[in-house]
């Protein structure tokens, strides 16, 4: 079993994918569903097992049995730690949920959908588990290739094609950028194993190391959709089939960030250690900018999936802020936050999918007052919106609490206001949607505002009065898991230990290259959750107030007109910048890389 389990989260889904492709159209739909679900279920189990096992030290698994010679790696390793295994387990669970949801959702073309989903799954697992930088790139590309195809799945419409094009071009450029960085590193160290590169780089921090760091980081940040690399995300989410959105928002974007953290802690930490303060400042500013832009743009949308997509952008900004603390408490908080957010956002997208299935539209203004017909979906949405603002016991608040206490020690306590701001605005946006759809509050459709680009999309199903259990139950399960994770005993302590393991560069190198024994990690005692609880409740109340103000009936709106005028004064130019033009996206991408690179170059030399 020890020979099989570490490789199986990649090998099993890929084998099943190939099998399903070979028998395309010759097997019944239900059998294909069952096989695909079985493969993803297997990945969940295997990854959970790896998660348990690796909490006592890294699992280092050499593909092809090529153990390192004299401390030099000659093969590819899976280097599995609890956070990596956790990411893979979470990705597999979301794939499973998405497959269950789509069982009655798609009028699928042969088995192509299943094949692509399984390839996507295998890529995400490999991406989380690998310990080799080029292998990371290969799985990054596999993830992208499957994602592009899934994104353009609904070829009958014009939107998906344009969204997929923007997605594909920007992400491919990001991948080439990361590959160039990898080339630079290889030119310096002659190694591809991350542990060995880290060892070989040591403390040097010349131009090459900085350039490699910035290029690899920016390549992955394109996937993580940080401003100014974020444009593709809203487009891709707005058009991808709903079950696929769950994966994009719930885990794929976060995996971009995971890769940044992995790369930093295994390879560059030694080199950049004396510039920790500057690194922190740069990433915090980037994250804060992203959180604010994402939140504002989210509030301005009426296409519900696009709204959710911008909210994801806002939350990845917060996640980058958490990573930027470069402390184990914040990293543990980040892990919990990703989990909570992924469950929540997944459930939100699924409920949007139910709306689309039931009412045939995804435009907030079109759906005004129609929610009574789809009461379960809109009711769920209300619940979920509260989670976005971090109300306890929703899982995100656990993460926020950890991040806050870590930030406080680093004199960054002001970032908790950013967390509150992003939480309030994105939650208010979803509450507004739910209020408008379910209760029919707020303005009616204003036909004068037509030049807004895509606001709606076609059905993905044949529609129907009934919402099948395969759609409703997964949504509910995600919601309950998101609530339940707060009650797992010792979760925070265990995650902190895992984060310490993740960040220990020296122990990582010794375990990978020299079979060293793992050290034991003893995190601090649990801190009080009370401030987090209070803050969560305050944000939720504020979110309710903001949403209420927006939805006020006409006569009462007068009072806040000046305020909303101010808001749209800020929003207008921001929306114009999101032009939907691929050239703009690439120009901003280059500008982002140049700016981040320039800042690092300035600080380090």
């Amino acid at each position: 079993m020890n020979h099989f389990l570490p490789a199986s989260p990649v090998a099993v889904p890929l084998s099943i994918a190939a099998l399903l492709a070979a028998v395309n159209q010759h097997i019944p739909r239900r059998l294909a569903d069952a096989l695909a679900m079985a493969a993803s279920l297997w990945s969940v189990i295997a990854c959970l097992w790896l998660l348990m096992k690796s909490s006592h030290g890294l699992i280092v698994y050499w593909m092809g049995g090529w153990e390192p010679r004299n401390g030099a790696a000659i093969g590819i390793s899976f280097t599995i730690d609890p956070l990596g295994a956790g990411a893979a387990a979470f990705a597999s669970s979301l794939v499973l949920v998405a497959l269950v949801f789509s069982a009655h959702y798609f009028d699928s073309v042969g088995t192509i959908f299943h094949v692509l989903m399984l390839a996507f799954l295998g890529a995400m697992c490999g991406f989380s588990l690998t310990g080799d930088i080029f292998n990371l790139f290969v799985f990054f590309e596999l993830m992208s290739a499957a994602a592009f195809a899934l994104c353009g799945y609904k070829t009958e419409e014009s939107g998906p094609i344009q969204g997929a094009l923007n997605f594909a071009v920007t992400n491919t450029i990001g991948a080439f950028m990361a590959l160039s960085g990898i080339g630079l590193l290889y030119g310096r160290t002659g190694a591809l194993n991350m542990a060995q590169i880290g060892k070989s780089l040591g403390q040097t921090h010349d131009g090459l190391v900085v350039a490699a760091f910035v290029m690899i980081t920016c390549g992955f940040l394109v996937k993580a959709a940080l401003v100014p690399f974020h444009f593709w995300l809203a487009d891709a989410h707005a058009v991808a089939p709903t079950p696929v959105c769950v994966l994009f928002s719930g885990i794929m974007v976060e995996l971009g960030l995971y890769a940044v953290a992995r790369v930093y802690w295994t390879m560059f930490h030694g080199a950049l250690a004396q510039f920790e303060a500057q690194t922190r400042a740069i990433f915090v500013s980037l994250g804060v900018l992203t959180a604010i832009v994402g939140a504002l743009m989210s509030f301005a949308q009426r296409h519900i999936k696009r709204l959710l997509a911008y909210s994801t952008i806002s939350h990845t900004g917060l996640m980058l802020v958490a990573f930027a603390m470069l402390a184990h408490g914040a990293l543990a908080g980040l892990a919990l936050y990703v989990l909570g957010h992924g469950l929540l956002k997944g459930a939100l997208f699924l409920s949007a999918g139910i709306l689309l299935h039931h009412l045939g539209s995804i435009d907030e203004l079109n759906l005004r007052g129609k929610g009574r017909e789809a009461i379960r979906a809109s009711g769920l949405m209300l619940f979920l919106a509260l989670g976005l603002s971090g109300v306890p016991p929703y899982g995100t608040f656990l993460g926020e609490a950890l991040i806050d206490s870590a930030a406080e020690k680093l004199h960054y306590s002001w970032i908790s206001y950013i967390f509150m701001f992003a939480g309030i605005v994105t939650a208010a946006a979803v509450l507004r949607v739910a209020g408008r759809i379910y209760f029919g509050w707020g303005q009616d459709l204003d036909r004068s505002q037509q030049d807004e680009g895509e606001t709606d999309e076609g059905r993905e199903t044949s529609g129907g009065k009934e919402v099948p259990a395969t759609m409703f139950v997964p949504t509910l399960v995600l919601l309950l898991l998101g609530l339940g994770m707060s009650f797992i005993p010792g979760l925070r302590v265990k995650t902190q230990a895992a984060a310490m393991e993740f960040m220990d560069q020296g122990a990582y190198q010794q375990q990978v290259l020299e079979h060293a024994a793992p050290p034991a990690y003893v995190p601090h005692a649990e801190e009080s959750l009370l401030p987090g609880i209070v803050r969560g409740i305050v944000s939720t109340l504020l979110a309710l107030i903001v949403a209420g103000l927006v939805l006020l009936p006409h006569p009462l709106r007068r009072g806040i007109e000046g305020f909303s005028g101010g808001v749209s004064f800020v929003l207008r130019p921001l929306r114009i910048l999101h032009s939907g033009h691929m050239g703009d996206y690439v120009a901003w991408l280059t500008a982002g890389v140049a700016a981040i690179g320039g800042l690092f170059a300035y600080f380090i030399h």
Partner: protein
């Protein structure tokens, strides 16, 4: 003379790689035709070949094929070649996917000019 040339050559493949990367991006930013844009993306990708090729090369070394030369002869790095092979196949397939998207863009949106494909604004 040959000294000067070899000093110039020391950085040449890398400079060309950097140049091609940026020029390709320029083509993408200013492109008015999706197919042109995709071919510019190919140019960006070739930049990574040049970088890897330059990194793995050794002066005066043979190709890493030990059929005719004895083991131990200095040979260039086979790993970068393997990486480039991977890169080339990836290129062809990703470009195929993009070209397919371009065909669909013409079909569904009636244009291949990024200027006209702006349904995703705001």
């Amino acid at each position: 003379m040959s000294q000067a040339v070899s000093e110039f050559l020391r950085m040449l493949p890398f400079l060309v790689a950097a140049w091609l990367f940026v020029v390709g991006l320029y083509g993408i930013v200013t492109s008015r035709h999706l197919v042109h844009l995709i071919m510019c993306l190919v140019v960006v990708q070739t930049s990574t070949y040049l970088l890897l090729l330059g990194v793995g090369y050794k002066i005066g070394a043979a190709a890493p094929i030990f059929a005719d030369i004895p083991v131990g002869t200095p040979a260039v790095d086979p790993v970068t070649h393997a990486l480039m092979l991977t890169d080339i196949v990836v290129e062809a397939t990703v470009m195929a996917l993009l070209l397919a998207l371009a065909i669909q863009a013409e079909e569904r949106a009636g244009s291949v000019d990024p200027e006209q494909l702006r349904i995703m604004r705001g």
